[in-house]
Homo-oligomer: 596 residues x 2
């Protein structure tokens, strides 16, 4: 149950598909070369493989425990988090001004993948802290930045996102937590927040809660919500910790997975009010929260890739080791390792192809983010920003949906042993099962993909991507052989399915929203499959050209792309049928509620 | 978290799709009319809903416990099992000669569905007992039958199947347990068996283990395995319990789901040998075991349907109750129950359509089994037997594969609450996850479908079914309207995909077994989708004709069939592509083992 970071695969994507050379040509990223990427990834692989991976099963066996308002994390987590901070891992992507390394997202993303593959429950603490850092960087006052960012970026303190309340799951309009101005620039915060990841724990000296709340007289709905910083311990002007703030953890949840990650119910203001500091302007809280959310959504997509790879590694190791039954092709008279059985190989190939495809898409998206923030001219930034924004719900939604299938296949490869908890395969499925839910369910990602990412720009971003796929298709035509033929045929069909779906969404979104939104998740999955397949096609072309350099490695890339074309891409056409020909909704909305 | 048996849906299938009238016209089933079916199902619904359903979550919270060789089941299970036996439920399908009710499988199947929907962990004990009864009926001597069957059928004793050993999962050739003849007709059994469901428990006075073992000098491989009856307590000639036999439970497993069902490691013969009795003839054990297995495989398929329906009921109830966010079509200004959101409706419709489709196929298969055993003439029996045998791996494989998706959607409908164990949605997913593994993994079902069920008869059974689909397609053509148009179009494509896959399997099985077996699971899923869709098409025609009788009920049947056509059937074409155009294996077998 060890984890070995797939460094070669990661660097292949960074170099060949996400073009790290062009990222390191951006202003401010001059140091971010392939060599630096390699050095950073090597170190990350060591730390995550040696320190965090062995604690993953521990976290499942010994979840975080709540007692009398305090949360004790899994034995070993506290020390590991100290090492994580000291190693500078919290700061990889954050500005050097506040102690970070200021590296591109393209290099930070594989680090996040490794962290999550090694230990997803642990990784949630840095993930949420990243979100708090992003929000402070974007909207915090200089004073708040100076006081909080260095400690967050160094990993001495951690951050949280406080959105959900008992009556308001994803529906922020229903937020009731209130913040009363005290006349001295501070506020007193009152309310209950639920599902707060690492809302209380013993791994850091202080916890910086970012909290959505309403000020008195604020407008109803999402336009009357502000964002507050509420520290667990107040911070004095010299940066030292002051008195305990009035925010308390009243319980943690008993969950299907990610058991080491404490999911807290936080009570604000039961003893007079929790002191909070406004971030940015009043009533713009949801806007700021979306900055955190967008970063977090991308990261959750990477979690899906990470847990998939971990499950794949474990299943592949088992399949090479477990001996059972003779091969169907009669190539051996005795029982053989189960990896020689066609269905086991199909399962492993599926796990691998889905994971590699989603990884390539996520890293390519990360490079777009780097261009969106660092390119010299505004048009280039706007173009890449639009592409990145289009890809975020797909990276989040597709990478997590496929991770449930991949981790479930991981159980299946193990047969009966997969159902026994000691084997460890089931943990990955249980852990993965949250990924399509938190930071916005897949349906919420699909709504975002339809509304803000497809309809709002009239399909411009989608069509820009389709045009890039056409370039890849033209390049595929220059080659012969079964992998190229299969890929060209299936990617052509997939591209057509995606284009027709985008047209359908644009044509119908206003007049028949139910039909369009009923097909939203299918659109998201279709886009995930086609865009991952497109990356596999690009990988195929590169691997073919470089095959002689490393026949085993590039041969595997070719075979995996071929498998993706044959076994994954055909699903795109079925999804299109389910959206476009079905008009999404007819059988579905014919029923009254009480007929369900 | 209650369970209400879908009696109306069940009776619709029994009457209209599985034609109970024709079953009750078979010799020996004269009493098995629709009215009797209704009466039996009513009683079953009461017992399962009132007694067993409330114990389902209890079993998850308080699993069976092992201590010092003894297993204590979940509080309430022992008393419930007593009621189960006294109610005659163990005997529904078994012969009246030994105390059973002798009802058709068509009527027993919905009872099994209810039992498993109410409490899958509990239901495993009767399920395994059924298997033991079947094997004894088929191959046991009169003495063994007289001594054991009445107590098993009355539910006073329970039965087990002992196949698996640590080194031999699904590979029975590796079985090492040995049985030494004692000269008095009995044997002494020695060995270790693992994964024995209800191998030890406190719910019955005695446990009747059916055990695969080798006699001295038996041939190697599966042709040298015999089947033995090894009771936990020896049974005296007068039927009273004698001394404790030398079979002991040394541990039980810590599992992902079905936690109340004890999965035992059994040690035979550590204290001189466990007394066993040969069932049937030596070296024919695997053949007899397949009788049990076939019955058990069908029942496991029904488990998939059952847990899917339970998950659907829970998700639908939650979706009607949970209020969140405004509808996308602007039909309300305030937040609404989430069932009004298109994606929630899509998820519920998917759960419902898959469950209804799989149920219809399973009940229709049960009716074929009744004809196979009870039809007056041999040709009719042979025809129905071939159809039933073809359907068994599909009912097992497809109903269980889809149950993982359905129960996972059940979690998703609940959003964040679905990940909290107290909600109960996650239990269904954890429970369902074993179903594609035990009694033969989906790959093993697919191998059976290819080898014994398609290739061996040259595709005769498959083509007989395709001809029946053609009749349904012709009937669909007589109707107009969107549901009929959609169903005709998609079922035509699905039928073609199935036919082309069957041709591919027949053409290639010998020359290119890797290609064929690599596509085996896809073939099985394709068949599951198309044959379920075919049943939905038949339901559509009936519901349309009877719509005026009960517009809400039949309207829902029409809408569900329409949904199935639009959203499920299109996957058949993608699966065909993955088998036939891909030749299954190219990308997959290009890799050496160490490239994984």
């Amino acid at each position: 149950m060890s984890y070995t970071a797939p460094l070669k695969d990661m660097l292949f994507v960074i170099e060949e598909l996400a073009d790290v050379a062009s990222v390191s040509a951006l202003p401010g990223f001059e140091d971010a070369t392939l060599e630096i990427a390699q050095a950073v990834l090597d170190e990350a692989a060591k730390f995550n493989g040696e320190v965090l991976a062995p604690l993953n099963a521990e976290g499942d066996k010994h979840p975080s425990e709540w007692h009398d308002g305090k949360v004790t994390t899994t034995p070993g987590f506290k020390e590991a988090f100290r090492q994580y901070g000291e190693g500078g891992w919290q700061g990889v992507v954050h500005p050097a001004d506040f102690g970070g390394q200021g590296l591109p997202k393209l290099i930070a993303t594989p680090c996040i993948e490794m962290l999550n593959a090694a230990n997803m429950s642990f990784a949630l603490c840095p993930l949420l802290t990243d979100g708090a850092i992003e929000a402070l960087l974007t909207a915090g006052s200089d004073e708040l930045k100076q006081r909080y960012l260095p400690k967050l970026i160094s990993g001495e303190w951690t951050g949280t996102m406080n959105l959900t309340e008992p009556q308001a799951g994803s529906d922020l309009a229903l937020v009731r937590t209130r913040a009363e101005p005290q006349g001295d620039g501070t506020y007193k915060v009152f309310g209950t927040k639920i599902f707060i990841t690492y809302g209380e724990h013993d791994m850091a000296e202080n916890i910086v809660h970012l909290v959505l709340a309403r000020t008195p007289g604020a407008p109803e709905g999402v336009k009357g919500i502000s964002l507050f910083l509420v520290p667990k311990f107040l911070v004095d002007e010299d940066g030292s910790l002051g008195e305990r703030n009035d925010v308390h953890c009243v319980s943690i949840e008993h969950k299907l997975g990610i058991k080491a990650s404490p999911t807290a119910v936080l009570q604000y203001g039961d003893h007079g009010g929790a002191t909070g500091y406004l971030i940015g302007e009043e009533n713009r809280g949801v806007e700021y929260m979306f900055i955190m959310m967008n970063a977090a959504r991308f990261a959750v997509g990477v979690q899906g890739i990470a847990v998939s790879d971990r499950a794949y590694q474990q299943a592949a190791a088992y399949a090479k080791d477990r001996v059972q039954s003779r091969p169907v092709d009669g190539s051996a008279k005795q029982s053989v390792a189960i990896i020689r059985h066609p269905d086991v190989r199909r399962m492993l190939s599926t796990m691998r192809a889905l994971t590699e495809g989603a990884r390539a898409l996520a890293y390519v998206a990360a490079a777009h983010s780097d261009f969106a923030h660092h390119a010299a001219d505004a048009d280039t930034r706007a173009f890449h920003s639009a592409i990145y924004e289009y890809l975020v719900p797909i990276v989040k939604g597709w990478s997590t949906e496929m991770s449930i299938d991949v981790t479930s296949l991981g159980v299946q490869v193990h047969g009966g042993m997969g159902f026994i908890e000691e084997t460890g395969a089931a943990q990955h499925l249980r852990d993965a099962r949250i990924l399509t839910i938190y930071e916005g369910t897949t349906a919420i990602q699909a709504n975002d993909l339809i509304g803000r990412k497809t309809v709002r720009d009239g399909g411009a971003a989608a069509r820009a991507i389709l045009a890039q796929i056409d370039e890849t298709l033209a390049a595929l035509e220059q080659h012969d052989g079964a992998p190229f033929d299969a890929m060209h045929r299936r990617l052509t069909a997939g591209r057509a399915a995606l284009a027709s779906t985008v047209d359908f969404v644009l044509r119908k979104a206003k007049d028949d929203p139910n039909a369009v939104f009923a097909g939203g998740v299918a659109y998201l999955k279709l886009a995930g499959i086609v865009l991952s397949g497109w990356q596999m096609a690009r990988a195929l072309i590169v691997a073919n050209a470089r095959r002689a350099d490393d026949p085993a490695f590039y041969g595997a890339k070719i075979a995996t792309a071929h498998f993706f074309a044959d076994h994954v891409l055909p699903q795109a056409v079925a999804l299109e049928a389910s959206i476009v020909s079905a008009k999404g909704d007819q059988g579905m909305f014919a029923l009254a509620e009480d007929q369900f």
